[in-house]
Amino acid sequence: MAVTFRIYRFNAEKDAHPYYQEFNVDLPAGSTVLDGLRHIKDTMDGTLSFRRSCRHGICGSCGMTINGVNRLACETQITNLRSKKIEVEPLRSFPVVRDLITDMTPFYDRYEAVKPYLIDLKSPPTDRERLQSPEDRRKLDGAYECILCGCCTSSCPSFWADKDFLGPAALLKAYRFVFDSRDQDMGERLRIVNDKHGLWRCHTIFNCVEACPKDLNPTWAVAELKRAVIRQKV
């Protein structure tokens, strides 16, 4: 399978400006974009930099923009791109450290801001786990599976425009705890997201839904959070 990779290159220590470099490669059938990148790094240019770890869509480290769409390189089959030319760029709107590696600090800062952990105001039970009914547990389906790849937040025009916006990933995480029957500080959680850089910057553009490699729906979660805030007020 002969394809051409057109890859965004930038080394802050050497380059004044980013540029694109092309690599013609011949890969076995069934190769993913990550396989292609590894082939280039191993056999053609060892300086090419990108993140990857699990190669199975679990760790979320290989999120990048492939032919204009944010995806996981390890889950993207080259044949499914239906193109002999594959353009690979770092995730938009995050500062580029080198080549396809971005500085994810803004992403994690927002994640941390929504307190992504269970808040237990009373002392936890000592003789058993914090139990939850199957119905309550089901409410978290579609909210806990996020792998923090950043594909959604990077695809969000509201995040491009407002760098203080929490972004879809953090808001989805907020949803996951607001609607967790075991969590005891819904008020504080809603106070955090009820902000001009929080829920109300989401204009239901749905880019995050399209971008999510795990088929999650942050836009729906944001709508539920908006409803919860309004219900609390009226």
């Binding site: 800062d109 801001a113 407002d162 203080d164 106070r191 009820n194 902000d195 109300w200 204009h203 007020k233």
Partner: protein, 122 residues
């Protein structure tokens, strides 16, 4: 760094939805009348008489005033939301907010004067 507490947006968002819903009802009514019942059967277009008769009644003046207020609020609150996406400096936001409010006020005054002072020519 995001702190979460400025608590702005919820009220505006809520009234944007409510005004949107009411505007759908009023718009349907408006289209039904202007492009339906008030169309002259022979001329196939809306004529002065039925519209003027309707606008002379205080009930319709009230409905149209509500239409005006809702449309101005909905439109300008939308503009303010778009500006909110792109303008982040406090002084610029304050300035633009004042401009949007003045614009809304002028539009409301102009619309209200036109509506309330309307008397049909007989």
């Amino acid at each position: 760094m995001f702190a979460g507490s400025s608590n702005t947006g919820a009220t505006l968002w809520f009234f944007q939805r409510i005004s949107g819903l009411l505007l759908v009802v009023l718009l349907l009514l408006h289209f039904g009348l202007i492009h339906g019942t008030e169309v002259d059967e022979e001329l196939h277009r809306v004529t002065y008489k039925p519209v003027a008769e309707r606008l002379a009644s205080s009930t319709w003046k009230t409905i149209d005033l509500a239409f005006l207020f809702l449309a101005v609020f909905h439109g300008l609150s939308g503009v303010w939301m778009v500006l909110g996406d792109y303008v982040h400096r406090t002084w610029a936001r304050n300035l633009l907010f004042t401009v949007v409010c003045i614009l809304g006020f002028v539009l409301l005054i102009l619309g209200s004067v036109t509506l309330l002072s309307f008397k049909p020519i007989t």
